[in-house]
Assembly symmetry: C2
Homo-oligomer: 439 residues x 2
Amino acid sequence: MTASNGAAIDAVADLAGQCSTDIPASARAMATLSLFDWCVVALAGTGQPVSRIIRDLVLDEGGRPTASVIGAARKVPPRAAALANGTISHALDYDDTHFAHVGHPSVAILPAALALAEDRDASAAALRDAFLLGAEASIRIGMVLGREHYERGFHQTATAGAFGATVAAGRVIGLAPAQMRSALSIVSTRASGLKSQFGTMGKPYNAGIAASNGVEAALLAERGFISCDDGLGAAQGFLATHAATAADWPAVGGFLFEDIKHKFHACCHGAHAMIEALQKLMTQRAIAPDAVASIVVRVSPRWLKVCDIKAPRSGLEIKFSYAYLAAMVLSGIDTAADHSYADAACDSAALRRLSQRVTVVGDAHISDTETEVALTLPDGLRVTGRHDLSVRHAPEVIANGLRRKARALLGDERAEAIWTSIAGIDARSARDLAALLRG
Amino acid sequence: MTASNGAAIDAVADLAGQCSTDIPASARAMATLSLFDWCVVALAGTGQPVSRIIRDLVLDEGGRPTASVIGAARKVPPRAAALANGTISHALDYDDTHFAHVGHPSVAILPAALALAEDRDASAAALRDAFLLGAEASIRIGMVLGREHYERGFHQTATAGAFGATVAAGRVIGLAPAQMRSALSIVSTRASGLKSQFGTMGKPYNAGIAASNGVEAALLAERGFISCDDGLGAAQGFLATHAATAADWPAVGGFLFEDIKHKFHACCHGAHAMIEALQKLMTQRAIAPDAVASIVVRVSPRWLKVCDIKAPRSGLEIKFSYAYLAAMVLSGIDTAADHSYADAACDSAALRRLSQRVTVVGDAHISDTETEVALTLPDGLRVTGRHDLSVRHAPEVIANGLRRKARALLGDERAEAIWTSIAGIDARSARDLAALLRG
């Protein structure tokens, strides 16, 4: 690591202390959409086995009831609520992604901000701004940690996420600049999370521990806990010990958070560009499923290790299978609804037959967010399409998509009630939002 | 990492499930002594600033009152008690050390075992055995992580300690073998702790997070939480991602725990062999302090980076200063009493003058646990002495030393009350022992 890592903690502390009036409206709009989407995904995941386990743990502990737990009537202390809510909201893996950060910002950051905003009775707008700044910090730290950190086996959602959660939590409780630096150094010895948990309950738990670590670090700093000067960039700080890739803090104007991508399909984000490209093609050309003789899908080679399961044996594996997901799109199955990914879908002869017509090709000229598809029809006609997730859409377009997703997951009435509440965020308290999540 | 790391989780799970009747009495005797010493050091550290901060945090959260907090009248849930008690008991840095483990086993493991033993109303003997097995696991994992892990910046007390705390906690609550493996894989994504916290409140906090992580992992596994198959030795498991040194699990008969070393001086363990050698020499030869013209101290080169501060500016720095500590021994100051390390001691002209006569030499032929001292008297006479901490002493000898230390720290009455209670461990419950620690 080079000396320039010393700049990291200063940059994060500056970001955390940014004046509210300097936050662009465009970034705020995206943060509000992520807040809505997070509530929806969290509520949809409330019945998952991992959600029940973590919720029962914190409810059984009890304690000062100041922070809501998703799907529970009783409240718990903020550290515990953050642990539970981070885990529950990532249980379906249907939350947002930031590709440059290499991770899921909302599930690690929002539960930390919400737990303390509810505890301190902050406004919903202050909660949203704290979340936005924390998410921005986690994205930038995620970029500094970079590809090497991820390839080594660390999970940015959890590691960079813990720092972002600290920023959000510290902002909500009004830490002074020196306290914020202390909180960041405290969390440097607590931040953790490994990718070897993927495919198990440990993946959503990683988001919960990040959120809980952020709350704990902020509360300790508020009480006068003294850590080292720079737990992030010091010689044996977090960056140096955790295989950080970059030597330099990213020089950016504006908010990288604006590139946040929400999931509109309940599967691995690596397959979303393919689904979009195929859906567009099928609709435009009005192609019947069985009219497709073969499909070639071209993706960034990095995804081949992530979501190219050829013959899925479970609903979870379908979510990581280009071939099967392509077959579902051709068959007109709703990829937005989680129930489409039942284990029984693996037994569909029609889907299996279609999936066998799919060839996936890694192409180093294609970015992480792009996919090209080429369909061959029986008469030899070849039609092609592509989609790039990195293209930004207007907030209204995203909002419409998220509302459709919410209705699919929660039903019309509940989805629209949440939408209405969050659309009126400037008149709400954090406690109003927390009330939406209780059982 | 080689494939043989796959053996690690099996070995740890086997150790955790070891039949009580197979535990040798000699290991149990040492564990009982460590239990006594831990109680003493924990109570002595109860008023430290970091102790107050962490205790206030968990007391303020409250919750189901089943586990005692050192120095508090009220109880809290086990996860919280473990966090507080690990931190409080390491606040003075006066607890035991295992040199092969490169760390402090008791402060990370005992708080986890005690919190759940009290919660479940286990016997004190079961608590002691669970602690012993957890400590043994942490020592062996610490050895596998090894020097490279430590030099990279990780703190075995916290990292290996979290696995040991999981073993101890899981043993207390009676996890089945498959649950114990789950718990170990759960904690693999939660274990953390950096050496860059040394010299700050973050060092004792590292012990607290290890203890708390162990309790959390055991409780989640008990509730059916499913993690990956092998979070320790898998391709991107804890060992591979955290710079483990060794490829092989140590093949040992018996308990490495029996090499545990208790501190009889309230300073860095690296200086203890020098203090012992000097004290022996001064007593045997009846040398007056000012009769010493010069002192040469020969130590393992690794300690030069740890405890060779030439001119300490605080009581804490005195604890890491060969020269100043030698001057204290020559002057007959009690190095066992924490109050001897007041900041004001730095201003003593007599100590400063004596300390300037000390030369410290790194010698690669000297082990971590040895020190040689050579004193030159004004008439040119040269007397030499040495001490090796690795020499095992009879339990009675250690017990006498620990009781002296306890009386120096807590006063005769309290020290002997704790001694009596722990000496009768087979007739006690964990709740009896926990009662000794409350305020």
